[in-house]
Every structure is written in C-alpha cells, then in structure tokens.
Point group: C2
Chain length 198, copies 2
DNA sequence: TTTTTCAGCAAACACTTGTACACTTAATTG
DNA sequence: CAATTAAGTGTACAAGTGTTTGCTGAAAAA
C-alpha cells in the first residue's frame, strides 16, 4: 500500500497504476501481489479505508479545538490543511477517485463523505446551540463547508507555502460567509422577510 | 474525440484510456491516430478545450437569464444542471482531470476555472450594484459558488432524476446562503461589528 | 492535368500487462 | 517436533501497449 501511494504521488493516477508497477516499487515479485489482494480494485478500497480513517482523525482534531474556544474557523482550517499536507498522497487519492474510474470505489467515497457531513452537521448544531444562535438546516451547511474545504484544500495542498496560506485565508473567509448567511437566513425566516427570493 | 468521450463515459477514466482503444472505437487503424494527434495528452487537451467552450456557454446562458429577472439563483442552477446533463461525459472529463494524471492538463483546467471565477465575479458585482447591495470581495464569492456548483453539480449529473432535483435544491440553497452571508458581512464591516471573529 | 496534401492502411517492433503454476522458505500452531 | 499456513520466487503465456515505416487512394491545389 505504501508503494502504491508513493507511485501515485509521483506519476499520479490510481487507474493508470499497474499491478507490476506496484510490486516493483514494493520490491516483490508480481505474483506476490496476490498474497495480499486479489485485485487492484481491492488495493484501491484498502487505500480508501485508510483515507477514511485519516478524515475521521481530522474531525477529532477539530472537535478538540472546539472545546478550547479560540477562533474556531481559522484554526480548524489550519488543522485541516496540516492534515492534507501530512498525508497528501492519501487525500489526493480520495479526491481523485471520488470522480474516478471504479464505480465501487466512487460510491464508497461518496458514502464516506456523506457520513462525514452528518457528523460535521452535528458539531455545527451543538456549537450553534451553545452560542444561542439559530441556524437553517445544519446538514446543508455541513455539505457546503466540507465540499469547499475538501476540494479547495486538497487542490492547494501541494502548492508552495505562500499560496497555501492564501488558500487557507480564502477558505476561512468562505466558511465565515456561510455561517453568516445561515444565520441571516434563519433570522429572516423567523421574521418572514425573504428579500433574496424576490 | 467523440470516440474517446464515448469510451470514457463507459469504462471511465482518461488516463486509463489507451490509444488503441480510441482508434478501435473510432473505427480506424491505430497508426491513423497520429494523423490527428501526436499524443494521447494532446487529445486530452483538445477535449479540455471543448469543455472550456461548454463552460463559457453556461455562463452566457446564465447572463441571458439575468437580464430576464425572475429567480436568478434557481434558474441559473437549473441551466447549469441542464448543461451538465447535456454533455455529461465532457464535464466529467473536466472534473476528473482537474485532479488528474497529467500536470499539463491539470494546470490548464485550473487556469480555466480561475478565469471563469473572474467572469462570474464581474457578473455578481454588476448585479449587486444594480440592486444597490454591498458585498465583500466578489471574487471570493465567485470561487465559493463555482466550486460548489462544479463539484456537487457534476457529481450528481448522472444520478436518477429525483436525486438530481434534490441536488438542485441544495445547490440553490447553498448559493443563497453565500449571498446572504456576503451581504451580512459587508454590512457588519460597515458597522465594524464582527461577531463571528470573537 | 499534374502535383501535392491528406487520411487511412497492414505489418512489424519492442515492451508491458495481468494472471497461472509449481516451487521454496520462514513463521505459527498443534 | 511435526504440520500447517503465510509470504515470496521464477518462469511462462497470451494479450495488449505505443510507435515506426512504407505504402495506397482520394481529394484539393497548382
């Protein structure tokens, strides 16, 4: 699995990754591959599993931050980006294969991301209740935020440092806007004044 | 090019698409490929070019809608999704190769999307001025919106009809929240009251 | 009408690919 | 200790890969 990741961060692309390539990188004979996986797709699923764990780790870190107080948005984004950097190849696999070759792998990633959205929504709801703020449909908010962080974050994870910091700033801004918007919308619904729809 | 697209919408993935596969689908000999492209990567770039044009077409359609008035957000999203459906394979190539194999193609797509963001930002700014609304950094807003529409839209473009409509609704909601948030933030900056940062 | 360009062809080349089989070791287990 | 299992090996095979070369017709330009 490590060999596959290394190969993928070099010449990119899981679907264009051959069984023989992987075994050569791993320093074993082609036939030995079948002792561990019966398929390349199985290897892919294993990698996705690992990436799922890494995603969960991010959420845990973010939760820990939340209890500390501070500027949650900024530090959450920073933590995210740190994770994206730390195991860049793994997440790039996830991003790639989310729209990738194998339907099996694709569905699994989509399910994983949706699951993550539900967890994130729960965190957001709790936090908002703690602050006595109303908010519309936390799951939607979670989807918007995770989509932005995931796509923009991973895309800029292998850029030079300055660009990364810039991306962090933009991401934090996006998230803040979404929070503000959600709150504004919730309040306007309460007052039944919906200017944006007219 | 049509053959490549067809192949890609079947067994997915440009990087895993062979020259010989394409020529077989096109009904010509492998050697004949070189009369049109000197490389598979060149074919990829040509496809991206076509997709870029399709993206521009979306923007034109959206602009036309804007002058009509009506519910801009909802109808823009509908128009977008219609385009995504109409040439699904093309856009899936774009989404895939945005995080894909070839650095050359990847950079080009990123540049194209950034260009699109600038155009979208201009539209947003004009529209906001027309409505006498203040807004913070239109380019950020454009980035957030296009990222969401692009990723969520394309991901759900090949789902069953009901799910698509549901995705449309969610997308429109996201966009509205972002608009609200941008406006709220602009107003708060004006009043120098920044509750979200505390 | 002659010439040049264009799109296509078959055959061949040197590789790489996934997979299968029979085999050796090393470690684990009974 | 003996037996079983896990991991790895070399060889082989059929199929597929990108690319080159020299060739054919047809269409377009001269």
């Amino acid at each position: 699995m490590a060999a596959a990741l290394k190969k993928m961060s070099e010449d990119k692309g899981f679907s264009s990754l051959g069984l023989r390539e992987v075994t050569k990188e791993a320093g074993i004979a082609p036939a030995s591959f079948y002792r561990h996986f019966s398929n390349m797709e199985e290897l892919g699923l294993a990698l996705v599993s690992e990436a799922e764990d890494a995603l969960q780790a991010i959420l845990l870190d973010a939760k820990a931050l939340e209890e500390k107080g501070e500027d949650i948005v900024a530090s959450s984004v920073q933590v995210c980006m740190q994770h994206f950097r730390d195991n860049g190849p793994l997440f790039r696999v996830l991003a790639r294969e989310a729209t990738g070759n194998s339907p099996l792998i694709r569905r699994r990633i989509q399910r994983c991301l949706m699951n993550l959205n539900h967890q994130l929504a729960e965190i957001i709801e709790l936090e908002m209740r703690r602050r006595h703020r109303k908010i519309t449909n936390p799951l939607y908010i979670a989807e918007a935020i995770s989509t932005l962080v995931f796509n923009l974050g991973i895309a800029s994870a292998d850029l030079p440092y300055a660009k990364q910091k810039e991306a962090e700033k933009r991401l934090a801004h996006h998230i803040r806007i979404i929070y503000w918007g959600a709150e504004a919308m919730a309040n306007s619904q309460h007052l039944s004044r919906n200017i944006m729809l007219s």
